[in-house]
């Protein structure tokens, strides 16, 4: 017998009294009753009405909500984030000058400040309200009461929680009855199983499986190839009528989409004539300013011819290859070279020479130059070695720096060569800013000196250093 009793206690839990529910049929009666409950010192209770009731807040003794402060705090946070974010993005992380405006300027930030303030304030209001009201609450034991259904229609209720410190089943019930309600009923906890219904579990599983399908499809598409062209969701963004560099057009007479600078204009930050030695490597610009360009063009033409001849040579049988190394048009190349020789190249660095500049020059040299010229400047860079190995007919081995010809060149000429190129070497002025080019020239001079110094001119500590270095 004893065992069976224990079993029955396990299977059916004893329902507990959760609270009391008093029903009224008049809003005024509810307010009066609420005032009495408030004065009796109850804390854990609530009222339920079909519509917002004026004066119920005071009648229930509810303190004014702190929600406005939450909203204000969230709004201010949003505004601060907006200012900070825009400062970080525009002035620190990616400084980009737009139409001459300061990098960080308050007027430009106002729309975003406004938007983020409103967004966070709205979040604060919405989630703050939900939080303060302890919502969402999917189930309330009061829903079990049939009478309580009329709370959304024409009845007014006071519910009193059994958790309240003052609550006692008999006294509180009597107290509620003294408020002249239509009815007072007890609310008992739900003892039915908390297990989900079988159908709901099935339906939720089905939804879960369906939700897995889109990511699975994306994963499949990403890991396989297809012959069908991509879908253009926004065609007018993918195919814009804008002109692009390197393309041709018949809109302009020269057929190029990219437009050259307008004559007489100077792009921002590219005014060079105030510091000719620094930007051109020349002491002054020659009267005929075009001479630099012309000399350059002539040199290039000569190179082109040379290359053409070499190409032609390469097609010849192997036995005729011997004269290929020699320039086929020595005249043109010589003229160009002599024009360049006559220019007034600078021989002094147009800025103070420092350790830092030397270090920078070494670093840049190793990045840009050493692949062809080699780390020591002998023309034995990896690219060059590989080209020689493949016996490429058009490859011209880069000049070694350690020849008398190169040693004699003024530094302005070296700077010019780095900027504009020579023979097969392209110009690097698009990639390397002028100060870095000068740093490379400095390092190049140091390389040359390292191979061409009389031991007698060295200072004692330098010789000892040389001796000790392993």
């Amino acid at each position: 017998m004893a065992t069976t009793i224990e079993q029955s206690e396990k299977t059916i839990a004893e329902p507990e009294l959760i609270g009391l529910l008093a029903e009224f049929d008049d809003p005024q009666a509810l307010i009066e009753a609420s005032e009495k409950v408030r004065d009796a010192g109850y804390r854990n209770w609530d009222t339920h009405t079909p519509f917002p009731l004026h004066g119920i807040d005071e009648a229930m003794g509810i303190k004014f909500t702190i929600l406005p402060w939450i909203v204000a705090a969230c709004g201010l946070t949003g505004g601060t984030i907006a200012v900070g974010m825009q400062y970080w993005m525009n002035a620190v992380d990616y400084p980009f000058l737009i139409s001459g405006k300061p990098l960080f300027s308050l007027p430009a930030c106002i729309p975003i400040i406004f938007e983020l303030s409103v967004l966070l304030a709205a979040f604060g209001a919405f989630f703050g309200m939900l939080g303060l009201n302890q919502l969402p609450k999917l189930y309330n034991p009061l829903f079990k009461s049939d009478a309580f259904r009329r709370a959304t229609n024409d009845r007014f209720f006071i519910s009193m929680d059994a958790q309240d410190a003052k609550f006692s089943e008999i006294d509180s019930g009597e107290f509620l009855n003294s408020l002249n309600p239509i009815n007072v009923e007890e609310c008992w906890s739900d003892t039915s199983s908390a297990k989900l219904p079988r159908n709901l579990v099935l339906a939720l599983s089905l939804v879960g499986v369906c939700l897995l399908m889109p990511p699975a499809l994306v994963a499949y598409k990403r890991s396989t190839t297809t012959n069908t062209p991509r879908i253009h969701i926004v065609p007018d963004m993918d195919f814009q009528p804008s002109l692009k560099a390197q393309n041709t057009t018949n809109l302009f007479p020269d057929g190029r989409e990219v437009r050259p600078n307008i004559n007489g204009t100077i792009p921002r930050g590219q005014y060079k004539d105030d510091n000719i030695p620094f930007y051109y490597g020349l002491k002054y610009l020659p009267e005929d300013q075009d001479v630099v360009v012309i000399a350059l063009q002539d040199a290039k033409k000569a190179d082109a011819k040379e290359a053409d001849t070499k190409k032609a040579d390469a097609k010849k049988p192997a036995d005729a290859k011997a004269p290929a190394g020699k320039p086929a048009a020595p005249d043109a190349a010589a003229v160009a070279a002599s024009k360049l020789d006559k220019l007034p190249w600078v021989t002094e660095f147009p800025m103070p020479v420092t350790e830092k500049m030397m270090a920078r020059g070494q670093e840049r040299f190793r990045i840009y130059c050493s692949v062809c010229h080699g780390l020591s400047g002998e023309g034995d860079g990896l690219v060059s070695l590989r080209a020689m190995e493949l016996l490429q007919g058009t490859w011209v081995k880069p000049a070694s720096y350690h020849t008398d010809n190169v040693r004699k060149l003024p530094i302005g000429r070296l700077y010019h060569t780095i900027s504009n190129g020579v023979r097969k070497m392209p110009g690097y002025k698009a990639q390397i800013p002028p100060e870095d080019r000068w740093a490379i020239v400095l390092y190049l001079r140091a390389l040359q000196k390292s191979r061409n110094t009389d031991a007698k001119t060295l200072k004692p500590d330098e010789t000892s250093k040389l001796r000790d270095t392993k």
């Binding site: 917002p52 004026h54 139409s99 405006k101 007027p107 430009a108 106002i110």
Partner: protein, 413 residues
């Protein structure tokens, strides 16, 4: 629609005449400051420029209030608003201020017609001929067309204000709900007419002070300023009348709360329009547009601009937002006065920086503010006196409006 007979008996007919002769005397006393301002202007350096611009500022300050009232009356009719019925008659009285203002603005039109270029550069053919752009604007900016437009604008406003007041007063007698429907039907086209006239009036009288400058949002800016001025004035009037025992029962704290809400909302609207105008001009950075703000950052005008940004928007936005600020008549009165002064500074900032003498544009100075304050009080005296005269013995509330019951029982949730 039917009138509710029970309200007819309950509601007492009150008129502004119950205030006694004091307000009229006060208004006419204030009007005496107008000759004082003229005298001050006449005796001080560049005084006539200061006075003329101050006079334009003063008339357009009060005009903005009356036009705000006219807008409010029409929008209430159009939207079949019930809550505002007890306030509507007072708004109709304020909108009738366009009648005295028509007379007050007339001298400005007359001197411009006479070829005086103290206000408007474009009225001087020699200056126009020298300017590279102005000759192209002559078909619009010429004194003849200007005078014609003045007649159209003020004629439309007087027509609208009188129509809505007279029909509403007629209803006090007959209680005919058809009149409400009639006003509702007319308020739609009326608002359209209002929108065009206020925009172009702002362009003609204020924007063309700087004839090379233009801003397409300018009309709305003046409209926004006017609504801030009107709701301030309405709150002040209501609280004053209630303290004198008029409208004490019909107008409750709930109505004041709503007027406060509208005042706060339209103050934010003003700030929104102002920043929209500023931001676009600042971004584009085109000299012929930035000249407006450039000048308002120099010669002391920068301080006035900052007063507007902080005083007209930031301070009221932070401190006037609370519900209790609007529900306490004392705090509401404070903010209404405060924003009315800010609105005055706003119109001052629009008009006075264009004041110029032989040597160029004038900076802000104590003398200028003094002349302008005297001028505003003087013009305001005439304006209020005109409104009081026209209000006469008319009821201060539409006593037989079909929606009166709703308005009397109005309650904020």
């Amino acid at each position: 629609m039917q009138t509710s007979p029970d309200t007819n008996d309950k509601v007492k007919v009150q008129t502004l005449a119950e205030l006694g002769p004091l307000p009229m005397k006060m208004a006419l006393g204030c009007a005496l400051l107008l000759p004082v301002a003229l005298l001050l202007g006449y005796t001080s350096e560049n005084g006539m420029e200061k006075f003329t611009f101050s006079y334009l500022q003063s008339t357009f300050f009060f005009l903005s209030i009356s036009l705000g009232a006219l807008f409010f009356v029409m929008i209430q009719q159009l939207t079949r608003a019930g809550w505002s019925v007890v306030l509507r008659r007072l708004s109709e009285f304020i909108s009738m201020g366009v009648v005295p203002l028509t007379v007050l603005v007339l001298p400005i039109v007359v001197i411009t017609l006479a070829g005086n270029d103290i206000l408007y550069q474009w009225a001087n053919p020699e200056l126009v001929a020298k300017d590279p752009l102005l000759p192209a604007k002559v078909p619009y900016l010429n004194s003849g067309f200007f005078a014609l437009r003045y007649l159209i604008y003020f004629g439309s406003w007087i027509f609208l204000a009188r129509f809505f007041l007279n029909k509403s007063v007629a209803q006090d007698e007959s209680g005919d709900p058809e009149l409400t429907l009639l006003m509702e039907r007319r308020s739609g086209p009326g608002l359209l007419l209002f929108a065009f006239t206020i925009s172009f009036a702002a362009i003609d009288f204020i924007m063309s002070l700087e004839p090379n400058w233009f801003s397409t949002i300018f009309g709305i800016y003046y409209f926004a300023a006017g609504l801030v001025g009107f709701f301030s004035a309405l709150a002040i009037c209501l609280i004053y009348l209630r303290s004198k025992g008029l409208l004490q029962e019909p107008v409750t704290i709930e109505h004041l709360h709503d007027v406060g809400k509208l005042l706060f909302a339209f103050n934010c609207f003003w700030a929104y329009i102002a920043i929209s105008q500023y931001l676009l001009i600042w971004y584009a950075n085109i000299p012929e547009e930035t000249i407006f703000f450039d000048h308002r950052q120099q010669h002391g005008w920068g301080t006035v601009s900052l007063i507007l940004v902080i005083g007209h928007f930031v301070i009221p936005f932070v401190f006037f937002m609370s519900r209790w600020m609007k529900r306490n008549p004392k705090t509401l009165l404070f903010w209404a006065f405060y924003l009315l002064i800010m609105n005055w500074i706003d119109i001052f900032w629009l008009v006075l920086p264009n004041a110029k003498s032989g040597s160029g544009l004038l900076g802000v100075s104590f003398g200028m503010v003094l002349v302008d304050v005297c001028c505003t009080i003087g013009v305001g005296g005439l304006y209020v006196a005109g409104i009081l005269k026209m209000a006469g013995n008319k009821s201060i509330m539409p006593v037989r409006d079909p929606r009166l019951e709703e308005s009397l029982k109005f309650h904020n949730i």
